[in-house]
C-alpha cells in the first residue's frame, strides 16, 4: 500500500511534467524556474539541516563500537573499530563512507529447527547498496559533460571507462545496468521481506521510486525516446551560466527527466536522503573513544550549589558531639566554641 502510494506519486510527477510541458507548453517554468528553485532549495536546505545538527552538543564519546577499546598494554586494541587516536577515526570514517562498513556487519536472525535462534552474516544489503551508490556517483560525474565546455579529460575518461562494453549505438553504460539492479534489490527487499515491509514507510519507498523514475527517464531518453542532445547541452549550459536558453528541438522527455531531478533536489534536505551529510556527523563513528583519557564535561550540567562536608560539620558540630557522632575537628577548636 505504502509502496503503491509512492509509486503513484512518482507517476503523478511524471504526469505533471508531461502535461505542463507537452500539453501547456510551460517550458520556462519546467526548464528554468523549477530547476533554479530546486538547486537553491537543495544547497540552502542542506546547509540549514547540517548547521541544525551541528548545534546539538555531543559531550560524551559513545563507545558502541565493534572492537576492543584502548586498555592495558597486553590487551590488543582494535585501532579502527574502537579508535583512541585521530587517525583511527579518520580510517573508520573512510571505511564507513567509502565501503559502508556498518552495513557489512549486518546480521540476520533466523529461527530454524523449531525454536533455535541463529545469527548469520547478511551481506546482500551491503553489496547492492554499494553497487547502487557507486553507480549513482559515476552517473553523477558523467553528467558533468553537460555542464562543462570543453569537457575536462577526467570526465571524458570516466565516460569511456563506463562505456567500455561498446555495445550498441549509443552504447550502453555499465552503470546503467548496475544502478537498475541495485535499485531493484533495494525495492524488492522492502516489498518482499515481511519484516522490512512492516517497518517501511512512504519516506522509504518514495525516494527509491523517484530515483528509479529518474534512471528510467534517462535511459528512455538515451535509447528510445530520442531527442536533440546538443540542444540539451544548450539548456544545461545556459542554466549554469545564468543565461537560460530553451531550444525548441528538445523534446518533452528531457523536461520529465529534469523535473524529476528537481523534485529530488527539493525533497533531499527534508528526507532520509540527508544521510549523505548525516554520515559525516554520526556520533558513533566520528568520535575518538577517549572517555577514560580526557575529561568530558556535560554542558547540560545544572550549576549545583554544593555543601562540602567541612562546612556541614562546622554547622552541626555541636549537635554531632552531643549525639556522640565522630567529628573531624574537636569541639574546643571550632570557631563556634570561641564565640561562647
Amino acid at each position: 500500500m505504502k509502496a503503491t502510494y509512492s509509486l503513484f506519486l512518482v507517476f503523478g510527477l511524471v504526469l505533471v511534467a508531461l502535461i505542463g510541458v507537452g500539453g501547456l507548453g510551460l517550458h520556462y517554468l519546467f526548464g528554468v524556474i523549477i530547476p533554479y528553485v530546486a538547486v537553491l532549495c537543495f544547497i540552502l536546505g542542506f546547509i540549514c539541516k547540517v548547521l541544525n545538527w551541528g548545534r546539538s552538543p555531543v559531550p560524551f564519546r559513545i563507545p558502541t563500537t565493534a572492537g576492543q577499546q584502548f586498555s592495558l598494554p597486553w590487551i590488543k586494541q582494535n585501532k579502527i573499530d574502537n579508535p583512541s587516536t585521530m587517525w583511527g577515526v579518520v580510517l573508520r570514517m573512510f571505511f564507513e563512507i567509502f565501503t559502508f562498513r556498518s552495513l557489512f556487519r549486518n546480521t540476520k536472525v533466523e529461527l530454524y529447527d523449531g525454536p533455535k535462534l541463529a545469527y548469520a552474516s547478511a551481506k546482500w544489503l551491503w553489496l547492492f547498496a554499494l553497487m547502487f551508490h557507486y553507480a549513482f556517483l559515476v552517473i553523477f560525474i558523467r553528467h558533468m559533460r553537460f555542464f562543462t565546455e570543453p569537457v575536462p579529460s577526467i570526465f571524458q575518461f570516466i565516460d569511456k571507462v563506463d562505456g567500455v562494453l561498446q555495445v550498441g549505438a549509443p552504447h550502453i553504460y555499465i552503470t546503467e545496468i548496475i544502478i537498475l539492479v541495485g535499485l531493484a534489490f533495494l525495492l524488492l527487499r522492502r516489498i518482499l521481506d515481511p519484516k522490512i515491509r512492516y517497518i517501511s514507510l512512504p519516506a522509504d519507498y518514495f525516494p527509491l521510486f523517484l530515483i528509479l523514475g529518474i534512471v528510467v527517464s534517462g535511459i528512455l531518453m538515451r535509447f528510445f525516446v530520442k531527442t536533440d542532445v546538443v540542444g540539451i547541452k544548450q539548456i544545461t549550459m545556459g542554466l549554469v551560466m545564468l543565461k537560460p536558453v530553451l531550444p525548441k528541438s528538445v523534446g518533452t522527455i528531457f523536461y520529465v527527466h529534469l523535473f524529476l531531478v528537481s523534485v529530488l533536489l527539493i525533497y533531499f534536505p527534508f528526507s532520509k536522503l540527508m544521510h549523505m551529510g548525516g554520515v559525516f556527523l554520526s556520533p558513533t563513528r566520528n568520535m575518538i573513544n577517549n572517555n577514560r583519557m580526557k575529561r568530558h564535561v556535560n554542558p547540560w550540567n545544572y550549576p549545583v550549589k554544593v555543601h562540602t562536608y567541612e562546612a556541614y560539620e562546622d554547622e552541626f558540630r555541636e549537635k554531632m558531639v552531643e549525639a556522640g557522632l565522630p567529628v573531624d575537628k574537636p569541639l574546643e577548636q571550632s570557631p563556634a566554641e570561641n564565640k561562647e
Partner: protein, 129 residues
C-alpha cells in the same frame, strides 16, 4: 557548536562540489551549438531533426542489416530514394570532413565513437595526425 570548524569546513566543501558547474564556467563564453560544415547537397538521409537525435541508432541498424543480413540499401522516409548502406561511402561522402562535422558535436558531448578504429575517413581524422 561542537566541532564547528570541522562542520563549516565540510559544508564549504559540499557547496564547492555541488556548485561546481556554476563556478567552473565563470568567464567562459556562452555555449553555442557547434558550427558544422554544411554539405552541398540539399537533404540528409532523413530529416535533420531525425538525424540529430537518431543518427547513432540509424547507423547501428545499418551496421546490423549490412553485416548480418546483407541488406545493402536503405529506403529514405524523407525522399523515398534508395540509399547505399555504408558509413564511409554514404555519410562521409556528403560530410567528408569528420573533424569539421561529426566530431564537432561529439567533442562537445564527450562522445567518441570507436567506429573509426576500423572505418576510414576521407578527411579530418584527428587520430591519424
Amino acid at each position: 557548536m561542537y566541532d564547528g570548524g570541522k562542520i563549516l569546513a565540510g559544508l564549504a566543501i559540499f557547496v564547492l562540489i555541488f556548485t561546481f558547474p556554476f563556478w567552473y564556467n565563470i568567464g567562459n563564453a556562452a555555449y553555442q551549438r557547434p558550427k558544422l560544415e554544411k554539405p552541398k547537397e540539399k537533404n540528409c538521409v532523413e530529416s535533420v531533426e531525425f538525424m540529430r537525435a537518431d543518427h547513432m541508432q540509424l547507423l547501428n541498424e545499418w551496421r546490423d542489416e549490412y553485416v548480418r543480413e546483407h541488406i545493402t540499401t536503405y529506403k529514405s522516409h524523407l525522399t523515398g530514394k534508395k540509399i547505399r548502406i555504408s558509413l564511409t561511402k554514404t555519410c562521409l561522402k556528403c560530410h567528408p570532413n569528420r573533424d569539421k562535422f561529426c566530431d564537432k558535436c561529439h567533442a562537445s558531448l564527450a562522445v567518441s565513437p570507436y567506429c573509426w578504429d576500423c572505418h576510414v575517413t576521407p578527411k579530418g581524422d584527428s587520430n591519424e595526425k
